[in-house]
């Protein structure tokens, strides 16, 4: 009996776009349901743009953007945001770096002032640089060196899959590279990449469009115009022979494995990319998904499983080249080869027999919930729309994603599964050096 499918609902967040004379692109998405706002500034530079010998520099520079600016002493940014009742952060991705605040809406002008001030120029000093190199080293120790599975697989798999420095290198950076960074490097990096023409500002939430537009003109209008730099070509050929490596993690108590396959260009070939986003969920979302049923429940060869698009789990804010990733933690003594063989078998079965009745529809309904849930937070909307504007010129795509995901067909998911062949796979195994 064919099953009824849930109707996929949509959001209708309004979108206003304009560009200032200095090239800064602006997206406004008002929503007056709560007295809060999100403010995001996204620069079109990320880990892939780091110079050789300067691994981790994009992230280190992100830290330096919080160390004071033209009219603001060190610590002032934090105090002004939090003293207005807000929270802030920044994050460095493969293709972009974002800076953001979420605040009560009476702090709109203050947030715009703070972002404009550092867009004009951060205070880059030797003292601040040394201090933040120390902080970043502690961040790497917490997240990578002092814990099991640190950097697995987002830092450990790219060098297996890719050959060129931009795609393959460690985005957190080596301590040597971080320690040899200079103030002059930072000034160059700022001049080149932190240009008004290379940035997008997005404001979401409890704002009046006319008033916000005027405030944005007032604060960002006189940021000196600098054009966006040319974006290098980061493409690499697909794999034709499987690549496999392994390493021992001395803190890890259980073996683990991750595999990745290249996928179509998320920007230039979105229609063919989207089925892979759905495929990852068909394979791994919840107890009724294919690989969880097979590997976790039936074979018991895997104890935890995940599948997603993009090394940082960022399906809609990453450019080509990127990948579909599957990662699994195994029980003690587990057999990685067997797990990879079973994954191949399940992908074959999916490609050959297709999906079962209702399997796709329920996966799409669940994906709609996740997508809608992410947009409920006012800051989430600003961040996502800023990146969609930057990479696609299409911030309104945020409203369309649940529907577009819902339109992916059985045939497209099958065809996507058929491309995930072992010879196109890069895989990395974690040997449990901490097993007891």
């Amino acid at each position: 009996m064919p099953t009824r499918r849930a109707r996929i609902p949509a959001t209708k967040y309004p979108v206003e776009r304009f560009t200032l004379d200095n090239g800064l692109r602006v997206v406004l998405t008002p929503d007056r349901s709560a007295p809060v706002i999100g403010v995001a500034v996204v620069y079109d530079v990320g880990i892939r743009s780091e110079p050789e010998g300067r691994t981790g520099f994009a992230h280190l520079f992100e830290h330096l953007m919080f160390q004071g600016s033209e009219n603001l002493e060190k610590l002032a940014h934090f105090r002004h945001v939090q003293g207005a009742g807000g929270t802030f952060n920044g994050s460095t991705h493969l293709d972009y770096t974002d800076y953001f605040e979420t605040l009560p809406s009476n702090a709109l002008e203050r947030a715009l002032f703070l972002e404009a001030d550092r867009m004009r120029g951060p205070r880059l000093t030797e003292e601040n640089l040394r201090n933040q190199v120390d902080v970043v080293k502690e961040e790497i120790r917490v997240n990578v060196l002092n814990r099991p599975y640190g950097g697995f697989p987002w830092l450990t798999l790219p060098p297996v899959m890719f050959d060129t420095f931009p795609n393959a290198h460690d985005g957190y950076g080596s301590f040597d590279d971080l320690e040899s960074a200079t103030v002059a490097d930072a000034a160059d990096f700022f001049r080149r990449y932190y240009a008004s023409g290379n940035a997008v500002l997005a404001v979401s939430g409890d704002v009046d469009v006319a008033e916000a537009t005027e405030l944005i003109e007032r604060h960002f209008g006189d940021v000196p115009a600098r054009p966006a730099p040319d974006r290098p070509d980061f493409t690499e050929p697909d794999l034709t022979v499987e690549r496999r490596t392994s390493y021992t993690d001395k803190l890890a108590p259980l073996p683990a494995v991750a595999g990745a396959w290249r996928v179509p260009d998320p920007i230039g070939d979105f229609a063919n990319y989207l089925p892979y986003v759905v495929l990852a969920e068909v394979l791994t979302d919840g107890d009724a998904s294919r690989l969880v049923e097979r590997l976790v429940q039936r074979d018991r060869s895997v104890t935890a499983l995940g599948g997603y698009l993009g090394f940082m789990g960022d399906p809609f804010d990453v450019r080509d080249p990127t990948a579909l990733l599957l990662q699994a933690h195994l029980p003690p003594g587990g057999d990685v080869d067997k797990v990879l063989r079973t994954i191949d078998e399940e992908l074959d079965r999916l490609a050959t027999d297709g999906l079962t009745d209702g399997e796709l529809a329920r996966t799409q309904a669940r994906m709609a919930t996740h997508l809608l849930r992410d947009t409920d937070a006012v800051l989430g909307r600003a961040l996502q729309m800023a990146v969609l504007e930057q990479q696609r010129g299409e911030p309104g795509l945020l409203n369309e994603l649940p529907r577009l995901v819902g339109e992916v067909t059985d045939e497209q998911v099958r065809a996507a599964a058929a491309t995930l062949r072992p010879e196109r796979r890069a895989a990395i195994e974690v040997i449990a050096g901490g097993a007891r």
């Binding site: 849930a6 709560a34 890890a252 018991r300 529809a361 919930t369 849930r373 409920d376």
Partner: protein, 445 residues
Amino acid sequence: MTTTLPAAPRALPPLGPNRRLKLPKQAERTLANGLTVIAVRRPAVPLVELRLWMPFGRAHLARGAMLAQTVLSGTETHTATQIAAELQRVGGGLSAGVDPDRLMLSGASLVTGLDRMLEILADVLTGATYPTDWVDTERDRLVDRIQVAQSQPAHLARTALLKRIYGRHPYAVQTPEPDQVRAIRPPALRKLHAERVRPAEAVLVLVGDFQPERVLDGAETALSAWTGEGHPVDLPPAPALQPGPLLLVDRPGSVQSSLRIALPAVPRTHPDHAALQLANLVFGGYFSSRWTENIREDKGYTYGPYSAIEHSVAGSVLIAAAEVATEVTGPALLETTYELGRLASLPPKPDELEQARQYALGTLQLGMSTQAGLASLTSAYAGNGLRLDFLAEHAARLAAATVDDVAAAAARYLAPAHAVTVVLGDAERVAAPLAALTPVRVESA
């Protein structure tokens, strides 16, 4: 880079007028079976958030953990896979978690799927069967998960701290040992379910794009067949902190030390709570705190130091936590003790207090601005006998706290003389520097 400062520096724009805290539309009903249902309207996205809070104090540790791991593993009418698939069909999902106070079922779905999600929830609550094959699989997975947790410094530090704080109190151990989990069989889970998964004193919170009264009717229809008396437990109050030598737990080769400091605190309704919350912010409860500005932004010892008040049914405690480089473990403790002592001895500056106050008030607004945030807040409040209208009362107390109130709270609660300190790290390298500052007792992990 040399920036040329403009002749006339630009002035920071002032804040607009504060927006008043506005509570969302809500309705509440206690059903005949004793279940309290609270429905809160936030129509922003066409979804619903669900939190079911069930009192679970003094439940057997390993059985409780296994019950949470397997409660969704099947009923008389559905297998685990069918439960997951049926929930997915309406964009839904449920998960279970347990702590020393409560068992919690949480989830979200498309709002059009709420009735179906409640039906499935009712099926699980009244008819979970704990099938043997599933329990076998999930038992092994839980053991694996515990082993992974036990390899993580944050988990090891917390485990040591809880034991040190709570001694013989039930809160002292919150993660079962693998061998205890291995001994659990389905009959024990069915028995625990029958005894403890009950509507009396449980609270169901629903937040979403709906009319609250209508949703209460739906919940009543779906869940009225769930029955069972409450299970009164005798949970002793948490013991007062017993200061003593710093406990150093050895983790050979560790490149960082996990510093944990416990200090006394009071429940949300206590007259000192607002002032203590503000004192904690000034000390280490947000980025613009003295502690972060000192050991991160000035000294570079750490990435993310943080202190927070944790509320549990048996009592509240303030916990300050930082992961610091092994070579600066002693200096990091010195600065931490200095900052606690400074705030306990000298009143905060008025502008420091104002900044912390604005942060506390602003983040209340932010926390209420999503369905998920509202659901978690409403549920946490309800688990402690409070309702959302307490937010307004709390906001008023935050607004009214004076420098003297905050100084008094800091003197009473933040004094380093009252602290219980645990450090997890490489004893060979950090024992001597720590012993220069305070008596140290070393234990192996």
